[in-house]
Symmetry: C2
Subunit: 543 residues, 2 copies
Amino acid sequence: MTAEIWDVIIVGAGLSGLSAAHLLRKRNAKLKMLILEGKDRVGGRTVTTEIPAANGVDRWDFGGQWVGSTQTHILELIKELGLETFPQFNIGKKVHHTGGPGAKVRTYRTSIPALSPLVLLDLTQLLWKIDRLCATVCVQDPWRTPNAVELDSMTLHSYIKQHAWTAELKEEMGLCSRSVFGMEPSQMSFLFFLMYAAAAGGVLPLLESTPGSAQELKIKGGTQQLSQCLAERVGWKNVRLGSAVTAIWQDAEWARVTTTTNTFLCRAVIVTCPPHLAAKIHYQPALPSQREFLTQNMPVGHMIKFIITYQTAFWKEKGFSGEIVAGSSSGCPFCVTFDATSPSGNAALVGFIAGEQASQWSSEEGGERREAVLSSLVKYLGCEAASFIHYEEKDWAKEDYSGGCPVNVMAPGLLTYYHPSLRKACGRIHWAGTETATLWCGYMSGAVQAGQRAAVEVLAELCPMALTQEEQQAVEHSLTVKDAVKQTPSSKHTYPSTTKAVVVATLAIGAVLLLAHNQNALLKVKSYLTNVFSTTTQNIFLL
Amino acid sequence: MTAEIWDVIIVGAGLSGLSAAHLLRKRNAKLKMLILEGKDRVGGRTVTTEIPAANGVDRWDFGGQWVGSTQTHILELIKELGLETFPQFNIGKKVHHTGGPGAKVRTYRTSIPALSPLVLLDLTQLLWKIDRLCATVCVQDPWRTPNAVELDSMTLHSYIKQHAWTAELKEEMGLCSRSVFGMEPSQMSFLFFLMYAAAAGGVLPLLESTPGSAQELKIKGGTQQLSQCLAERVGWKNVRLGSAVTAIWQDAEWARVTTTTNTFLCRAVIVTCPPHLAAKIHYQPALPSQREFLTQNMPVGHMIKFIITYQTAFWKEKGFSGEIVAGSSSGCPFCVTFDATSPSGNAALVGFIAGEQASQWSSEEGGERREAVLSSLVKYLGCEAASFIHYEEKDWAKEDYSGGCPVNVMAPGLLTYYHPSLRKACGRIHWAGTETATLWCGYMSGAVQAGQRAAVEVLAELCPMALTQEEQQAVEHSLTVKDAVKQTPSSKHTYPSTTKAVVVATLAIGAVLLLAHNQNALLKVKSYLTNVFSTTTQNIFLL
């Protein structure tokens, strides 16, 4: 078998791999590069599918769908590719159900969730503590964070258990963890959680759909277009689908990349697939053991995403926003839903079954899962929810060459011992994928940042003249350190003012609570709280 | 390519795979079975090597070496194969160094480590609490343990932090974790730790070299002989070395097992390699996602084992046992050493660099590591330690088709959500390896138990007549549940009496400590403590 010869081989045709290819191509059009993808499509963890809708058919995202206005890397790409964004609809009553299946289903209109004053106070103090810790995290080198070993030695669950006062808040935090990571709080290191939040500018941006947050904007026509447009620019002839890489061998001269049917020789490789899949590739010589230990302990989340199309957005007509949050004790299979009405007006809801619940529901029959979802929607939004046009779902754990979604987390004890090998090139192999990002790690924007960083590393090796002086220095001194220092302080600058308000509010409410022993006083606290927070510019409490 | 046809293919020629093969062969000599092994030798995580010694050369174990008198599965095998055991030498002064590089190096002769009375009291109460929890663990189905979710949501580190009073004990427990698992306490679920200890009959049997404990006996001629003798019995022609399995495909009729050069068809497969390596095999159809999530989050320990041979066992002449325990703060690279003098009298020491320290020292030059080890030995045992005959070490993280040692642990959140897929067959694929054992999980004995259990599962499918009625029922109702119920109570029966003594001692010492505020009183406590524990039949405190 004669091997094809290329300059660069990129493993994975998701956003990270295609962003890397796009940058390489822009800087040096002569570089021969090939992208190998196991799936029969580009897009990785983004996929846009046409399903029946009110006006015939329409397209929805069954993978990553949201971007935010602080996600500079993805926004620049969207602009460059000539795509458009539109805001997540979030006006109207939101539904909130925690505290057991029999607990009252509450609705609320402000951005403060329908929690009792005591739980809101609890939430305030917990977020205040976590944000203070977030501000100390070194995203680039998390082991340099003050008290890193201790923070990395406990799970997010242990931190919550220790610092949240109320059972309701503990349930609420489980819900957040499930919605953001597809994981239970027991499954990740608390330092990892802090690093992840710091890379997004704080905890609230992970949870909200307000400006600057993770669920702020959607892309007209769907997010898979990003990868399709990039493949177009890079050239489809350079993308081979159905070509899963099984081995990467290196010698003094070449890297030899093998699929089940072909072998390719090249000067540099960029591996962009999620860590648990990168771990399945056979490397020769073996990778440093620290790298192996790292990828052995970065489990991927589990999410089942569903889209349900309707004749009309009946929830809007009834004054609902379409947003429902339901805790694991509610008996509801999903943790969160949002309005998903398309830009052309086709009514739809989107929702997620995640974490432990995904694990349980994944093994049920599809029909039973759908019935459970619909029955909860009827309970929360009314009987109109039962009369849908189409129900479509995607269980990401069952997707070949993904095996989970949205992101790989880190179990305790990794960041302090093995993190340095996350981005460190191994000979001719460079590492990308959103898990290696330092800004919006775990998001589409992080995928782009990581792909571009890996491309710059490769250019520095193969054709350093194609880099700016700044980029050359960045490779030498690690670009991303500067990135992190430059950009994460935005959260540090933003937070103190919010933090002060929160501290004042906490103290004030605390004082009131100390005096208050009856329901009337509690109501006064709630009213006070609502006033305090409706005057702050940021919506702090939206889950 | 025409595929060879076999009845059973076993992936891995370690103790578990060869024990499975041996049982299959004994029950049905007509079964055609093939064992595929990636390494160029049998034995897996056991390997016995000849090195220069006082009388020329001699053999030492560079992998698993100890067995204990409660490890019935391995003891029966040793007897059947006609091998002999001899006790671990443990007479004389033991060295203990924790509390920082400048802290006093203490020696002690009893089985109670050289800790201050307060730390000993702390150790007593912590072990008492842990053993009480151990007694509640359901080894077979850990998620049935009372409070399982909570116990599995925290790391061992978090539990120790919460329940140990003194910094010294916290360091001591880190040392234990490193010595037993090659892992830091931050890297494993507390419920996993409890399950592991329960499968061994309690925490102390993991740590001691006393009767019934993990470090009690060694095998004359080395432990790799077990696998070599088994390969002999099974027939070397049925063992193919250098044949790493890359894929297992299943259809209605066959399992198709692929190596880089061959394809084999068979009726049943037993996969015995450690979970992180089983995760690298490509399965088609894909394994259930729960199984994938499980193996993605079972990191393997890291140990570097060294043997140093000497002209004479100078430590014995000086009254030392050869046992040294050193905490991570001591500046010493290894965590523990023992006398390793061979049955034929060749003097040697064996030691382990483990966990975080292995991770740090693994990337150093071999010469520097050796110098650091020797310099610590000189410090603890005297300048004679520098005049060695031969220094030989094995870094298990760098061993192909192992990638770590001694065992894979479970990160938090796994046991409660994904554990059921640990032993559950996937179509024609059955799972063995010591990690799947319910008695002495993680030890050579567990490897044998697991291999035999998988073999019984295969026989139940291919030739049920070869099974006893009891075994047939066991497969139906899960043999190992009975095993666990039958055998773990030995710990439950043993512990209460020890526990009572410990409770009485704790209360008594507590009372004395409350009264004592000067050094004299502390000395009295220490003397009291020594008296109390020298009268108990078990040596409770030996680390």
